[in-house]
Symmetry: C2
Subunit: 354 residues, 2 copies
C-alpha cells in the first residue's frame, strides 16, 4: 500500500469521549461558565485530538516548506523569484520573521526544500534544511498543469514522511510556506474548492497595486480556464495548479492527523494546502487549528470551508509560519487551562446561585 | 507634593523619535511592507514607550488587584461576595486561570488586597499578597458614593506605590482584577466617561439571565441618578462609584506611565480603570496596550474612548488579568520582530520591484 493510502487509513475523527471529559472538567473550573471562551473550545479540541485530558504540547515545530512557481513569469508578484532561495538562506541563518516568532513561542523551525528553483544541496548536505526537492519550480499554470499526478503524490508523501520523522520528537506541528508567487495557485485552489469568484478571492499578495491586482485576477481566471481539475480530488487540484510546497504542507497535515497530533495552520497558503488535505481526507479537518485570519481577502472563505474560526486577527500577511508560531502560545495556554486550573471544589470556592 | 501629583508630572507622551527609528528599521525588514501588521504597530508603540529600539520586555508581572463592592447587596452578581477572598486564596495557591496563563507567558502574578471584605492579614504577613486594604468593600453606590475623595486618592496612590516598587525588577506590567460585582461600577464608569447609554453598555457579567440583566441595568441607572461626578475628574468618578481595586489599577497604569514602561490592560474592569487613569492624566494613554476585546458589550465603547484596538478577541470574560497574560506573548513577539529580524540588506534578499 502506498504511504498516502496507509496514512489516510489512520485518520479518524477526534475522540468525543476525551472532548466530553475535557468539557466536564472545564465546566467545573473555579470561574464563570466558559469564561475563557475560545481558549476553552481549543482545550476541548486538543483533548479530542490527542485522546487525553492532559494533551502533550511542549515540543513544537514549525515546518516551513519552500517551492517556486512557474506562474511568476506572468508578473503576479512584486518580488523576483530569486527571493525564494534567498529567504531559505535567511531562515537557515535565523534572520527571518519565522525565526524570531518561533523562538518566542519555544518552537523549532524546520526548513524544507520542496521545489525551489535554485540549487540548495549545500544547505541539505550541511543538515540545515530537509531536501525533498521535486523540481526547480512548477510549470507555468497559465499554459498547463503545474506538475504530473505522480509528482503531486510525491509532494504530499514528502510532507507525510516529514511529519512521521519529526513525530518521534514533536507534539504539535505548525505549517509555514515560502514561495514567490504562491498566492496565485492558492487563490486558484480556493476558487476550485470553495466555488467562490476570482473577484472575491484574489488579493494583493506581497503588495500589488490596483492595476497589478486586476492583472492577477485575469491570470487566476486564465489558470481556471486552462486547468479544470475535479474539485473533489485533492491530488488532481494539486497537480493542476501546484505548488510543490503546498503539496508538502498538505502532506504534513495528513501526517499529523494520522499521528493524532494537532497541526496549527498558518495563513493563506497553508490554508490552501489544508483545503487540499481535507479534500484528500475530510477527517483531517479535526486535527487543524486555524492560527489567524490573513489580510488576503480569500482567506475568510477558505476558513469557512475548513470550518474553523481563526484564533488571531492581526493583519498578518507574511506566511513562513509566522501566524502559526504566534498561535502556538495559545495552544499552550489552552492546555494550561485544562491541566493547571483548579475546580470550584479543589479551590474551595463558592459557586454561582442557581 | 503628593505622590499622585509627582507621578502625573512625570508622564509625557511616547517619544516620536524612537517610534520613527523603529518604523525605519521595520520598513527595511526582509519581508513585504508591514507584513506583520498589528505586531509591527505594537513594536513602534513599545519603542516610543521605552525610548529604545530594543525595548526591554523580559521581566513581566500581572498585578491582580482585589476589592469588594457594597452594590452586591442589590443582587447584581450570580456569585456571593465570599468568592472574592476565596479567589484570592486560589491565586495564592496557584490554582486560578491567571496562574496558569501567567506561567505560560513567563509572567509573575502579584496579588493585592485593595479592599476585600474579609480579613486577609494572614496572607499579607506571609508575604503572599500585598496589603493595601482601604476598607472592607466599598459602600452601596445605589445609596451614595462608593468612598471618600481621600480614599479615592489613597487607592490610586497605592497602585502607584506598587508600580514604583515593582518597577525596580519589572519591565512590563499587566493589570488584573478580582471583585464580585465589579462589572457594575465599571459599567457606571463607562457610562460617565463615554457618555453612552446604560442599555448599550450593560452586560451579563459572570452570567446573568435576561431578567437579572434588566435588573442590573436598572441598578446602573439608579447609580448614575444618585451619583453625578464630574466626568472630567477621574478621582471624583472613582469616589462616586468605586471600586478600591479599580482605583489601584488606575494607579498602577499611572505609575507604569511615569516610569516609561508599557502596561498591558486586561478586560472590562481594567479598561474602566484605564478610563479613570486617562481622565486623571491623558498622556497615560500612550503607555497602554489593550490586551483583548471582552464579551461585555460596553468594552468596545471603552476601548474606542481609550483609542486602542485590542490585540486579541477570544470571547474572554474572566478578568484576573488573564487576557493581559496571554497578550504578554504578543508584546514579546513585537519586540522580537524589531530586534531579531534581519533587513533586506543584512539578509542579502532582493527587494520588491518599484
Amino acid at each position: 500500500m502506498s504511504l498516502l493510502k496507509e496514512t489516510i487509513q489512520k485518520i479518524y475523527p477526534q475522540d468525543s469521549e476525551y472532548r466530553d471529559k475535557a468539557k466536564e472538567r472545564l465546566d467545573q473550573l473555579a470561574m464563570p461558565p466558559w469564561a475563557l471562551g475560545d481558549l476553552m473550545d481549543l482545550s476541548m479540541e486538543l483533548a479530542g485530538i490527542c485522546r487525553s485530558i492532559t494533551p502533550a504540547v511542549a515540543r513544537k515545530a514549525i515546518v516551513t516548506m519552500a517551492g517556486d512557481h512557474g506562474v511568476v513569469a506572468e508578473g503576479v508578484s512584486k518580488f523576483p523569484q530569486e527571493v525564494t532561495p534567498q529567504m531559505v538562506y535567511n531562515f537557515v541563518h535565523g534572520g527571518a520573521g519565522i525565526n524570531a516568532l518561533a523562538k518566542q513561542a519555544g518552537a523549532e523551525v524546520i526548513v524544507v526544500d520542496m521545489g525551489v528553483a535554485a540549487d540548495l544541496t549545500d544547505l541539505a548536505k550541511a543538515g540545515k534544511i530537509i531536501d525533498k526537492k521535486i523540481g526547480l519550480g512548477t510549470n507555468n499554470i497559465t499554459k498547463g498543469p503545474a506538475m504530473s499526478m505522480a509528482n503531486a503524490t510525491k509532494a504530499v508523501e514528502a510532507g507525510i514522511e516529514i511529519a512521521n520523522d519529526l513525530g518521534k520528537n514533536i507534539d504539535v506541528f505548525g505549517t509555514g510556506d515560502m514561495g514567490i508567487g504562491n498566492t496565485t495557485p492558492s487563490t486558484a485552489i480556493a476558487a476550485i474548492i470553495t466555488g467562490k469568484s476570482v473577484e472575491e478571492l484574489t488579493g494583493r499578495g506581497t503588495g500589488l497595486d490596483d492595476e497589478q491586482l486586476a492583472h492577477k485576477r485575469q491570470v487566476v481566471s486564465d489558470i481556471l480556464l486552462r486547468n479544470k481539475p475535479d474539485p473533489k480530488n485533492g491530488l488532481d487540484i494539486l497537480a493542476a495548479v501546484g505548488g510543490f510546497e503546498i503539496g508538502g504542507i498538505a502532506g504534513l497535515i495528513l501526517g499529523a492527523a494520522a499521528q493524532k497530533k494537532p497541526v496549527v495552520v498558518d495563513g493563506f497558503i497553508s490554508s490552501a494546502a489544508a483545503l487540499i488535505a481535507i479534500t484528500i481526507e475530510p477527517f483531517a479537518r479535526d486535527y487543524i487549528v486555524c492560527a489567524h485570519r490573513s489580510m488576503e481577502p480569500g482567506h475568510r472563505a477558505m476558513q469557512e470551508k475548513l470550518g474553523c474560526r481563526p484564533l488571531l486577527d492581526l493583519n498578518l500577511r507574511l506566511g513562513e509560519g509566522t501566524g502559526a508560531a504566534i498561535a502556538m502560545n495559545l495552544v499552550e495556554a489552552a492546555v494550561a487551562i485544562l491541566t493547571e486550573v483548579a475546580t470550584f471544589e479543589e479551590a474551595a470556592v463558592a459557586g454561582a446561585d442557581k
